[in-house]
């Protein structure tokens, strides 16, 4: 299960950050951390990127990056 698989309006909790290097640090600096709850708000009209809410603000990232963000399995 990863972030790219969520549909608009769906939520998930981050289990693992797959990205490496600058990208990973960048995401972490912006509050995308293990244990954080993330909501997918929208998908761009052309299918990519996506808009998410994290730490009470809106962030957009590409699906390729979202695929590296693994989510906890829903209980």
């Amino acid at each position: 299960m990863n972030l790219a698989m969520l549909k608009p309006g769906e939520k998930g909790r981050i289990a693992k950050m797959g990205a490496i290097g600058p990208l990973r640090r960048r995401l972490m600096d912006m509050g995308v951390l293990v244990g954080e709850e993330i909501t997918v708000e929208k998908v761009a009209p052309l299918g990519d990127p996506i808009e998410i809410t994290v730490k009470n603000y809106n962030l957009s990232l590409r699906k390729k990056e979202a695929e590296g963000i693994l989510l906890e399995d829903p209980k």
Partner: protein, 694 residues
């Protein structure tokens, strides 16, 4: 960077200039705050060696001289992005006396993450709790006293857009020096494990690397070593497997894995979250906010793209409406009176003919084409500033990223593309060319995908971008930013344009005393590349020479063709030249009518009337010139090529400005030239196939 002035104590002498660095997240209203503090005393330049903007201002408050230095907006002080490296190098090596940390009150937790990193530096910090009005409107209750107590720093609520709290902020800044070292922030605890490691590392560094302690704040150094910060490790010449590191962080690695960078991010964020819980009370029922409502429409699956194009069309139309009358006015003033004056004064000084020609056809023509861009650039910068300040620019990048990305470009690339389009604005107003432009866009996407698959298969820049809430930019910051951007841009573009104009003049007039333009260097180059354009129907040296000259600005293609075709014998019949004062009066009255025209243009656009297909003078010239050696079909192919081929010097400057390297301009250059060739080819050969013109 300059030599470190580290370990400097606070200035006791009153007259010493207090160096205040302003740090904060992007979208925290930092630049508005700087504008409010500095007003017209703002000086905008670049950080050495990079294209990141550096703003500075000299102020005085209660007799205390203050030098404000704006740091790039950052989310963190990591060693990865250019902005972050600039900010932290300045903080660590140049050690300002005080840091003003601009915190977005509506987004406390993420902003405090940076605040905590600033507190690690051992420099007094003052928090400007900005956008305070919006936080109140959202029903947020922030306990400022509790925040001060928890952070150990002064917190000043501010609303930079309305200049609220600016005086309190300056009071806090000057007050902090009076307190001396007592104004140093309390160091925050990241938890027992980490603090134990920091303690060991600090002791170890003092013991074994005394030179480092001179250069860096101790706690910061220890934390960075722990994070495995590659820049600090390299500068300090310490390896991650150093025995000191092993001793100090070994148990942390055992407990938390090798990745101590994310351990630290976690530690800072949990502290920031804790602080936020302590000081911030959110209303229990969350209202649907304006931003959400707007985004439902603006980012809608079906409406998002049409809205983007509508917004861009509106920007172009308004830019053109506002600037065209003034551009025409400038054009008239330069080509008429100014040229005459220069000619007359050069003749008066008995200057040789070639000097008159260089001045009027090289320098004045070059300066003229820069000046004609002035109204266009300022109008365009105004709208771009508005789109950026309001928050729509981020949405536009969001909507367009997929298309741009498929061309190997970043979502934000449409900004220089818009500016590139600005190259065409003075040269084309006719609706005929819109058809070509639309065709160009469609082909651009298709070819971009092809390019991405074949030539540029590398990584495209990362796209992790905040979508800030919509905000109305204040008139004041709109004005300042428009002015700064426009000025900066024109100085850069102007330099290139002038240089290229003079170069083209020389190419057209060398070897010395060349009679036939075909034998000039430009003519020779034109002849050499002419066969490339043969399949497009304009494989003559005149056309290809003009295209080379067109790198300055597209309407120069017309001018150069005019100069090539119109031989010396064809002198325009002239009446008696108007006097200097008649000229001046004429310039004045035509300026006034340009103002009126711009105004009515804007009114008519707002009233949504259809595009006026105006027959412009240049187009008429182009048409008459072109008729001499072109068929209607090859002329159309030629116009298509002119419209689509490489972005002009202005666009080149825009690309450099936006991305800091020439690389993306190179990509666009190759790409657009091939695109233009293909479109012209299709137009010409396709047309012939259908038996049009030929």
């Amino acid at each position: 960077m300059t030599a470190p002035t580290a370990a400097r104590s606070f200035p006791v002498v009153e007259t010493a200039v207090l160096r205040v660095a302003v740090a904060g997240n992007p979208n925290s209203g930092k630049s508005t705050l700087i504008n409010s503090l500095a007003g017209t005393r703002l000086h905008v330049g670049n950080w050495p060696g990079v294209t990141v903007e550096k703003k500075e201002a000299a102020l005085e408050h209660r007799g205390q001289r203050i030098a404000l230095i704006d740091l790039p907006g950052t989310y963190s002080l990591s060693p990865y992005t250019e902005e972050e490296i600039i900010a932290r190098d300045f903080l660590v090596h140049d050690r300002p006396d005080i840091i003003v940390d601009v915190v977005d009150a509506t987004n406390l937790e993420r902003n405090l993450y940076l605040t905590l990193q600033l507190l690690e530096l051992g420099i007094p910090v003052i928090v400007a709790l900005n956008i305070y009005d919006e936080a109140e409107k959202k029903g947020y209750k922030i306990d400022v006293k509790a925040m001060e107590a928890a952070l150990g720093v002064t917190v000043v609520p501010t609303v930079a857009t309305r200049k609220t709290g600016m005086n309190d902020l300056l009071e806090a800044v000057t007050g902090a020096i009076a307190k001396g070292s007592r104004s140093l922030p309390r160091s925050q605890s990241y938890g027992e494990d980490i603090e134990a490691a920091v303690k060991m590392l600090t002791a170890g560094i003092v013991d074994r690397h005394p030179a480092l302690v001179e250069r860096y704040p101790r706690r910061w150094l220890a934390l960075k070593l722990m994070e495995g910060d590659r820049r600090v490790l390299a500068e300090a010449n310490i390896s991650g497997v150093d025995s000191l590191m092993k001793d100090a962080v070994g148990h942390l690695r055992e407990a938390h894995g090798e990745d101590l960078e994310s351990l630290m991010a976690d530690a800072r964020y949990s502290l920031a979250a804790g602080l936020t819980r302590e000081v911030l009370q959110r209303p229990s029922v969350r209202k649907t906010e304006m931003t959400e409502k707007i985004d439902r429409v603006v980012l809608n699956r079906f409406l998002g793209i049409p809205i983007f194009f509508a917004a861009m069309w509106f920007v172009f139309k308004m830019t053109f409406d506002l600037s065209a009358p003034f551009a025409d006015w400038l054009d008239g003033a330069i080509n008429g009176p100014l040229t005459r004056w220069i000619e007359a004064s050069t003749n008066l000084l008995h200057g040789p003919d070639w000097l008159v020609s260089l001045m009027t056809k090289g320098v004045i023509a070059g300066v003229g084409s820069v000046l004609v861009f002035v109204p266009v650039i300022f109008a365009m910068m105004f709208f771009i500033t508005f789109l950026e300040g309001s928050g729509y620019m981020a949405r536009a990048a969001f909507v367009m990223d997929r298309a741009m990305h498929s061309m190997g470009l970043h979502g934000k690339s449409f900004i220089p593309m818009i500016l590139g389009f600005g190259c065409n604005v003075p040269a084309q107003s006719g609706t005929v060319l819109w058809s070509l432009y639309v065709m160009g866009i469609v082909l651009a996407v298709l070819m971009g995908i092809l390019f991405k698959r074949t030539l540029f298969r590398g990584e495209s820049p990362m796209f992790i971008m905040e979508l800030p809430p919509y905000r109305m930019p204040s008139g004041r910051s709109l004005a300042i930013h428009t002015w700064e951007k426009g000025k900066h841009f024109l100085i850069k573009a102007g330099t290139y344009i002038l240089a290229v104009s003079v170069l083209v003049w020389f190419l057209l007039n060398l070897p010395w005393g060349v009679e036939n333009k075909k034998d000039s260097y430009l003519g020779k180059v034109g002849s050499a590349i002419a066969p490339v354009f043969a399949p497009l129907g304009f494989g003559n040296w005149e056309a290809s020479s003009s295209l080379i000259a067109g790198v300055i600005a597209k309407e120069i293609v017309v001018g150069t063709m005019g100069e090539i075709y119109v031989r010396e014998t064809e002198k325009k019949p002239e009446g008696p030249a108007p006097t200097f004062f008649e000229d001046l009066r004429e310039i004045g009255t035509s300026f006034a009518s340009a103002g009126r025209e711009a105004f009515t243009n804007v009114i008519s656009t707002v009233g949504i009337t259809s595009l006026k297909a105006e027959e412009k003078e240049e187009e008429a010239t182009l048409r008459s010139v072109v008729a001499k050696s072109f068929t209607p079909l090859s002329a159309y192919a030629f116009m298509a090529f002119v419209l689509l081929y490489m972005p002009c010097v202005v666009a080149a400057a825009a690309f450099k400005h936006e991305f800091g390297t020439w690389k993306w301009f190179g990509v666009a250059f190759v790409y657009q030239t091939i695109l233009a060739w293909s479109v012209a080819f299709i137009v010409y050969q396709g047309g012939k196939l259908f038996g049009i013109g030929g």
